[in-house]
Each structure stands twice: as C-alpha cells, then as structure tokens.
C-alpha cells in the first residue's frame, strides 16, 4: 500500500529501529450467509467489507530491545452496499468482478489517504430504457458533504482511475469503459 512506502521513506536511519513489521488484522470475513442484509429504499441490499491486508511499519527510538510495543489497529474501511449483488456479479462476469474489486480498492485507498467524508459505496445495475440492451453497473460514492464538494472528490478520483487504467490490460480497460460508470450521492 502507498502508506507503507511513505512510512518506509520517512524512516530515520540512525535514531530508530523498526520494532515491528506487523501484518495488521485482516478484516474478519464472515461467511456469506451471515453477511448483513438490510433494506435500502425498499430493495434488499447486502453489505460486504473490502478485503485487503493492512501492512504497517512502526518506528520507535532505539532504547531497549525488550521495549517492543504491540500495536493492533483496525482501520475502518469503506462499506459497500450492493443492490442485488447477484445481478451485478452475473453481469460483470469473473474478469469484470476483478476490475470492480480493483476500482473499489483504489477508491478505498484514495478515501483513506485524502480523508474523504465517504459514508458508503452503493453498487447497482442500471438499464437505459431509451437504448436497446444498454445496461451497466453504477458505482455511487455517497459522501457526508454537499454535492459540489462530493463532485470535486469524484473528479479527483477520475485522475486516480486514469492512472489505474494505464495498468489494465486491453480487456480490463474495455470492461471499465463499457460496464462501469460512476456518480456521487450525499447523505446530509
């Protein structure tokens, strides 16, 4: 993760030692059957955490080799709410699901790094009634701020998304263009 790189680069060379290279906690992955179900606007929604290991480097003054501190921090991650997760996954297929996971992971990282007031991410399928067979996945970033501020966050995200696009293969890039669209909502 980017934060690791920053911490590594910031690490002083003489006055501190790396006391712990700790793989921080994975978010506990409940069995699918126990995932929380809730009603959102009359539709059944399923929440699931974004799973990603958090690796943290901790530095401290070189005092005593026994002076180790056990630090356990669980960083809150963004909640993702699907409106009909099965339909979303069926539409995307395996490769599409992997692209979506990368996009969500990117959004989560950007949100953490830039302290976005991101309440949750909503994912749903959209059918355009005016165009035959036009369906896509809409990813909505719901922010606890006014619309124009949220719109600015989305435009920041576009730049990060363009950087990600450069790392995708041709098929993945095609999926991102054709199947995934983005918008914002506000919760206040």
């Amino acid at each position: 993760m980017n934060s690791n790189v920053i911490l590594k680069e910031d690490r002083p060379t003489t006055s501190s030692i790396e006391i712990e290279k700790e793989r921080m906690h994975w978010r506990v992955m409940p069995p699918v059957s126990s995932w929380c179900s809730q009603q959102v606007s009359g539709l059944t929604a399923t929440t699931s955490p974004i799973l990603e290991p958090i690796i943290c480097y901790v530095t401290a003054p070189r005092l005593d080799s026994t002076w180790f501190v056990d630090i356990s921090v669980v960083t809150p991650r963004t909640e993702v709410i699907y409106r009909n997760q099965l339909a979303v996954e069926r539409f995307l297929g395996d490769k599409g699901k992997r692209v979506l996971e990368r996009v969500l992971s990117l959004a989560d990282n950007v949100s953490q790094e830039q302290n976005w007031p991101l309440s949750y991410i909503e994912i749903k399928t959209v059918k355009d009634s005016e165009v035959k067979d036009w369906q896509y996945i809409l990813v909505i970033f719901n922010f606890a701020c006014d619309f124009m501020t949220a719109d600015g966050y989305l435009h920041d995200f576009y730049r990060k998304l363009d950087s990600l696009t450069n790392l995708l293969d041709e098929e993945e890039e095609d999926i991102l263009r054709r199947m995934l669209f983005f918008d914002v909502g506000t919760t206040i």
Partner: protein, 137 residues
C-alpha cells in the same frame, strides 16, 4: 430532384445556446427543456466532433447514446472525465420522465447550473481534441 427538406441540418451547438436562454426563464417547462437541450448539446456535439475528427463513425440513431458515452471514456479522448456525459444523461432522464417534484436528495437530481457547466466543460474538451491521424501512419 430532391424535394425541399422538412428539417434543415442543425448545428447542435445551437441547442446549448437555446438551453442557456431557457435556463434564465422562470417557467418550470423552460428549465426542464433547458436540461434536456443541454444533454443533447453534450451528446450530439461530442458525437459530431468525434466523427469529424475521425474517432467514430456514428449510427445517427439512439444507438449513439451508448456509443458516445463509452467512447468519451477512452484514454485518448477524455478518459474518466468522459463519465460525466452519462451523469448528465441520467439527470436529464430524471427531469424529462418524472413530472413530479424532484428533490435535491433524489439520486440523479442535478441543478440546471451543474448540467450546463458540465456540458460546457465536456464540449470544450472535445473541441480541443486533435484530429485523429489515419490508421497505418
């Protein structure tokens, strides 16, 4: 001999000018029509400019909505910013199909100012695209 056309060719830029004019009128019908014309300005100007510059070959039908939305997101065109054209479309769809009150809290509810500003930003970016060099060069 060709008969006189029922409708003469139109430059979709005039839709944007019309949307601007309508946006300053107080009537609800004018505001909603302004939003509709703004979307069509963004869509049709993008389509026609991309065609003129060699990026696409339009269908000249409703198929072009999807074609333009997906094409604008290409990295050599607008990249992720192209996503905004589809945001305008969803806002327009809500405004044109739902004749009831539309509240700020509703998904896809966007102010007319945002719709017009976003349309102008997209059009400006598309107008500044270079002419695509022919394949094989």
């Amino acid at each position: 001999m060709m008969s006189e056309p029922l409708y003469r060719a139109v430059n979709p830029k005039t839709y944007l000018e019309l949307a601007d004019r309508l946006s300053s009128e107080p009537h609800e019908t004018s505001k909603r029509t302004a939003a509709d014309r703004a979307y069509y300005a963004a869509f049709l100007m993008s389509r026609d400019i991309l065609a003129t510059k060699g990026y696409i070959t339009p269908y000249y039908s409703s198929e072009d909505h999807r074609y333009v939305a997906v094409t604008l997101k290409r990295q050599d065109i607008l990249g992720s910013l192209g996503n905004d054209e589809e945001r305008i479309r969803r806002a327009r769809n809500l405004i044109m199909y739902d004749t009831r009150d539309i509240n700020r809290e509703q998904q896809d509810a966007r102010s007319l100012k945002w719709i017009l500003d976003t349309t102008k930003r997209i059009v400006e970016r598309v107008e500044n695209l270079p002419i695509k060099p022919p394949m094989g060069r």
